[in-house]
């Protein structure tokens, strides 16, 4: 197969676009398309200060790389979750979080970029797996408390650090899998809020954007390989067997038979939303400031994050530091 632009041997064939490109032209095409997405959804402008949430994975590191190549002011935020990958106390861990942090720091150092690091255990007193066990939240998986902590810390770090926008590396497969899950559950509350941009329409909320939302996961992996970005190949050990991976597999079976099925599913959803499909589901809930940390929360009193950590402090007692008020300590590691 030949590159459509130059006729050289193609490195990737994107069947959904009927487009094959060589390495050189693929590396040109990715930032060009990202810029188009940024402009189409009015994500940010050249003067904006962007915080990129990085996990050490292919998507977030590639996003940071692309934004850097496009000339944006983009700093990174790495959240250390303390996930080791052990399933029992006798088993040796894979050091998932340590390796993720190492790769994120290496990426930043090689490019002279600023990476902020927030270690959950050092800041709040327990790792995410410990937190899950103590709080009895999320059955046997820490994904629920992990998501809550990451969203809280990302929002707070962006807000406290003076960033205009928080960028995450969600790709089209991520978005389509969540969309499929929420559609099969008719989860209208979630559907109405799924978008390439979540506006900072309430005090204390950071503006969130997903510049990779129209790229297939395959393209993101190809980009990381061609750009020689060293990323953590394994997914979080707690994600194995997750429903998101199940829906991704189903969607890829559809894609196999009908190239472009995933893209059409997601784009049709966005178009339907634009045409008012969810107009009656307007998100007009009043937000309150958490009485402990000041972050926005849906109900008066303490936010979910503070309530969760209060519960953990009650169990672990003096081993935990006092609540971190009012700002998160962000260490500049670069």
């Amino acid at each position: 197969m030949k590159c459509r632009k130059c006729g050289a041997t193609a490195a990737i064939n994107m069947r959904q676009h009927k487009l094959a490109l060589c390495e050189e032209h693929f590396l040109e095409w990715m930032p060009e398309q990202t810029q188009r997405i940024v402009e189409k959804y009015r994500m940010f402008a050249p003067e904006d200060k962007i915080l990129v949430a990085v996990s050490g994975g292919k998507d977030s590191l590639s996003l940071w790389d692309i934004l850097h190549r496009l000339g944006y002011h983009a700093d990174g935020l790495y959240i250390g979750l303390g996930i080791d990958g052990r399933r029992s106390s006798s088993e040796e861990g894979i050091g998932y979080s340590d390796e993720s942090r190492r790769l994120s720091e290496k990426f930043a150092a090689e490019r002279g970029l600023t990476l902020h690091v927030v270690e959950v255990e050092a800041t709040y007193g327990a790792t995410i797996p410990e937190l899950a066990v103590i709080s009895h939240r999320g059955r046997d998986k820490p994904c629920s408390v992990c998501g809550l902590n990451k969203r809280y810390i990302m929002n707070r770090a962006a807000h406290d650090g003076g960033y205009n926008v928080l960028a995450t590396g969600h790709n089209l497969d991520d978005e389509a899998a969540v969309l499929m899950q929420n559609t099969l559950n008719w989860a209208s509350g979630y559907l109405v809020r799924q978008a390439p941009v979540l506006e900072a329409n309430r005090p204390g909320l950071a503006r969130k954007v997903k510049p990779l939302c129209r790229f297939y996961e395959r393209e993101m992996a190809a980009y990381a390989i061609v750009r020689s970005i060293e990323y953590i190949y394994d997914e979080c050990p707690h994600a194995v067997g997750s429903t998101t991976l199940y829906y991704k597999e189903i969607l890829n079976q559809m894609e196999e038979k009908r190239p472009g099925a995933k893209l059409q599913f997601y784009l049709s959803f966005l178009q339907a939303k634009e045409q008012g499909l969810f107009a009656l589901q307007a998100d007009d809930a009043e937000l309150h400031a958490c009485e402990k940390c000041g972050q926005p929360t849906s109900a008066p009193g303490e936010c979910s994050f503070c309530r969760l950590w209060d519960k953990v402090r009650a169990v672990k007692g003096a081993r935990l530091p006092l609540p971190a008020l009012p700002t998160i300590e962000i260490s500049d590691e670069s």
């Binding site: 994904c143 969600h170 190809a222 997750s242 597999e249 890829n252 109900a299």
Partner: protein, 97 residues
């Protein structure tokens, strides 16, 4: 003659003359979720495997997605999803950043 495919530490052998896409299917993987790499270079799905290629590395594009996934029974999460999410819950169920 055969060509060796390496995927997550496991080795498979396929006949030369097959396309990359057919070889990926032959070893039971989804072509949409795999990239084939030879000598550090990506191969398109229609590339014909030749014996002088010796070893092709197969890279999973979905991290962790190759170990078999099962659909968990609908639980409290599905029920909770029917109401509007709280601000702390975010826009939906996510894995990773």
């Amino acid at each position: 003659m055969t060509v060796k495919l390496v995927y997550r530490g496991k080795e498979y052998e396929v006949q030369e003359g097959m396309t990359v896409r057919d070889a990926i299917k032959k070893v039971g993987l989804q072509p949409e979720t795999i990239l084939a790499v030879h000598g550090g270079k990506l191969l398109t799905d229609d590339t014909i495997l030749k014996s002088d290629m010796k070893t092709i590395k197969l890279v999973a594009v979905i991290s962790g997605g190759s170990r078999g996934v099962q659909l968990p029974a609908p639980g409290p999460q599905a029920q909770a999803a029917k109401r509007a999410p709280t601000i702390e819950e975010g826009p939906g169920v996510r894995v990773g950043i």
